[in-house]
């Protein structure tokens, strides 16, 4: 552990979550981030969440599985040479498929390989598991940007993760789309708890209001627990940071949005992972590749 990490830990020693931090702080976590519709800031939140978790001493692998609009690389100012497709079909070594991002976060771009993951031959599956094997030692946190909507892709990753965070914007369309996504997660992936992050709202009261609306519909019509895990305030720094291709938590660590990400990270880690889901790195990939459900 280097010096900054140690300082980081010490600043945390005096609040009520101290026990929780030591208890859940270093367990293996697989978190999928999704949203009902595009453009609500999902990739930006995912990227910055990865960096914030890394700053807190976690070893993070970020998988960009957003098929249509993968842009975690752009947000971090990276240009990956290889992606998952190269790993699957061109025998490129896993290490060459990873890009080194800021704060020690590694990025694995899905590229078009993501779509192919959902229908691999069993030999390819074993090859992939073998290739990924050495990574288990390196990371304790797997963060997956699943893309938006209710496609097989989203279900594929969300179904194998321990926790699913749905990013919701304040506009009514975002609400209905978030509901549809949660419905699919509950009815088709057997997910029993969904965490919600409200993005781009002016006050906590506004975030609560959006969450309350979503919760009133899900609690009436679906059998899934929906919890508010955090909210990110509208913040001019976010846009500024995107323009310069520096993640906003790096460029403006004290900005309101960055503080929102810190609260979100704490709130996710504070909860024990949803029970009965894959617990380790290998387990995650095995669960993922074993799910025949998504073979079309």
């Amino acid at each position: 552990m280097d010096e900054t990490n140690r300082d980081e830990m010490q600043t945390h020693t005096n609040d009520q979550a101290q026990g929780l931090r030591t208890k859940f702080g270093r367990s293996f976590r697989v978190i999928a981030i999704t949203s009902g519709k595009g453009g609500v800031g999902k990739s930006n939140i995912t990227t910055n969440l990865a960096l914030t978790l890394a700053r807190d001493g976690r070893k993070v692998l970020l998988i960009d599985a957003d098929l249509g609009m993968a842009n975690c690389d752009v947000l971090m100012g990276l240009t990956p040479k290889h992606d998952l497709r190269h790993l699957l079909y061109e025998d490129v070594h896993i290490d060459e498929c990873l890009s080194k991002g800021p704060e020690g976060v590694d990025l694995l771009s899905g590229g078009s390989g993501v779509a192919e993951l959902t229908h691999l031959e069993s030999e390819q599956k074993w090859r992939l598991l073998d290739a990924l094997d050495p990574l288990g030692e390196r990371y304790d946190t797997l963060l997956i940007d699943t893309g938006a909507g209710i496609g097989t892709n989203v279900q594929f990753f969300a179904g194998a993760a321990q926790d699913v965070v749905v990013v919701v914007g304040p506009e009514p369309t975002s609400l209905t789309d978030a509901y549809s996504t949660i419905k699919v997660l509950a009815n088709r992936c057997g997910i029993r708890r969904v965490l919600v992050c409200i993005n781009n709202v002016t006050t906590m009261a506004a975030a609560r209001q959006v969450f309350r609306q979503l919760h009133s519909v899900t609690s009436r019509f679906l059998s899934v627990v929906v919890e508010l895990a955090g909210w990110i305030p509208s913040d001019i720094h976010v846009e500024k940071a995107v323009m310069t291709q520096v993640p906003f938590t790096t460029a403006y660590p004290m900005a309101p949005a960055s503080q929102g990400i810190t609260r979100l990270a704490e709130s996710i880690l504070r909860r024990p992972p949803e029970t009965g889901r894959a617990g380790g790195f290998q387990m995650f990939w095995k669960t993922l590749l074993a799910s025949e459900e998504y073979v079309t």
């Binding site: 609040d15 609400l175 209905t176 549809s180 419905k183 088709r188 006050t203 609306q213 019509f221 609260r263």
Partner: protein
């Protein structure tokens, strides 16, 4: 999910539209008045909430259409209807069970009240017993109820005289303290009390009331650096109200904050909650405010047991308490513990809080109404 906006002249009319369009299951997302007397409701429903459509499509894909004979379809339909009936029956049984459970709880409560009265009084005279019972049902500790009635019945000839006497002593005891925002000179008020009684929310309500309705210059100090998001909350409220705030993690920082807010009419200090039964919590408060001109107002929850509340007040009083704030009165079924909190002390209640809305849900108590609430 089907989400729609409805506008109509009256709420009832709009509700009828919601039901007609979205069904009785619909959830109301928001309601507001549009001015000129019209109202707007946003509502949503999901016509096919839990049916897993994909499963059917898979069946359809794997089996040719001719494979499903009308007989099979019919038998499935009958089965489905039977299952529906069964579910309906189960549901109604469940609600019956729930209702009788509530009745049962109420009976147990009443029996317990009666038992405590009987246990203490045995052969109490017929006039006093009903009044004591009434007080105990209102949540007053049995021994306190007995004392009250005994005192009142000394000069009383009839039961109604006794009741009148009891009411008088309740009204005396429950007369309010001046509102925290009412002080004519500059004041520094710290809200203290056990964890989770609503100190921060109460602080925000007082700050908002003082700012908006009483024209005071208010500043906030967040001394709760222990709880996650403790200072964050104070900050959010301060920003919403547009008033200055500071964090004070210890006594010296608090002294600095008070100096900086020298020109404010009212400085409100949010402290962290502690167990009243542990000396360390009380010591923390004493250290925090030692030598500073800080008035301490104790927050207690309305639904705390009467005996507990009076001991709690006793513990906090040793370090000085200016007045009481009784919180979450909307969550309490009985108000008797309020009496316990002030009985036998020179303390008075400055505020009651009645819900979660900031700043609406805070009031200055009215002795008659409180008396009525205690007597039920």
């Amino acid at each position: 999910m089907n989400m729609q906006t409805f506008r109509a002249a009256t709420m009832r009319e709009a509700m009828n539209m919601v039901k007609a369009e979205l069904g009785a299951e619909a959830v109301l997302l928001s309601t507001r008045e549009l001015g000129s007397g019209r109202v707007e409701i946003v509502a949503a429903s999901d016509p096919q909430p839990k049916t897993s459509v994909p499963d059917f499509s898979r069946i359809a894909r794997n089996t040719s259409p001719t494979a499903v004979s009308p007989e099979i379809l019919n038998s499935m339909l009958t089965e489905l209807q039977e299952m529906r009936m069964e579910i309906k029956q189960l549901r109604s049984e469940k609600s019956v069970a729930r209702r009788s459970r509530q009745d049962w709880d109420r009976m147990v409560d009443e029996l317990r009240d009666l038992a405590s009265v009987m246990g203490i009084h045995g052969a109490e005279d017929a006039q006093a017993a009903p009044i004591i019972t009434r007080l105990v049902r209102g949540g007053v500790e049995a021994c306190l109820a007995r004392t009250l009635v005994e005192q009142a019945s000394q000069n009383a000839r009839t039961a109604s005289d006794t009741l009148w006497g009891v009411k008088q002593s309740l009204e005396d005891a429950l007369s309010p303290a001046p509102a925290i925002w009412d002080s004519s000179s500059r004041s520094v008020a710290a809200l203290i009390g056990p964890t989770g009684v609503g100190k921060t929310t109460t602080l925000a309500k007082i700050a908002a009331q003082a700012t908006f309705y009483h024209g005071k210059k208010v500043a906030l100090v967040a001394a709760d650096t222990y709880r996650i998001g403790g200072t964050e909350q104070v900050k959010t409220y301060a920003e919403l109200l547009g008033i200055p705030w500071m964090v004070a993690e210890n006594r010296n920082a608090l002294a600095g904050a008070l100096k900086r807010f020298e020109r404010a009419d009212l400085v409100l200090v949010d402290t962290s909650g502690h167990s009243p039964w542990q000396d360390s919590g009380l010591a923390y408060l004493d250290t925090l405010t030692s030598g500073l001109p800080v008035e301490r107002h104790l927050c207690v929850m309305a639904n705390t047991d009467g005996a507990d509340v009076s001991r709690m007040v006793e513990r906090y009083r040793s370090g000085g308490v200016k007045s009481l704030v009784v919180t979450k009165t909307d969550e309490a079924r009985r108000m008797g513990s309020m009496l316990s909190s002030v009985w036998g002390t020179d303390l008075q209640i400055a505020h009651l809080t009645t819900g979660q809305n900031v700043p609406e849900d805070i009031t200055v108590p009215n002795a008659q109404k409180l008396t009525q609430a205690v007597l039920g």
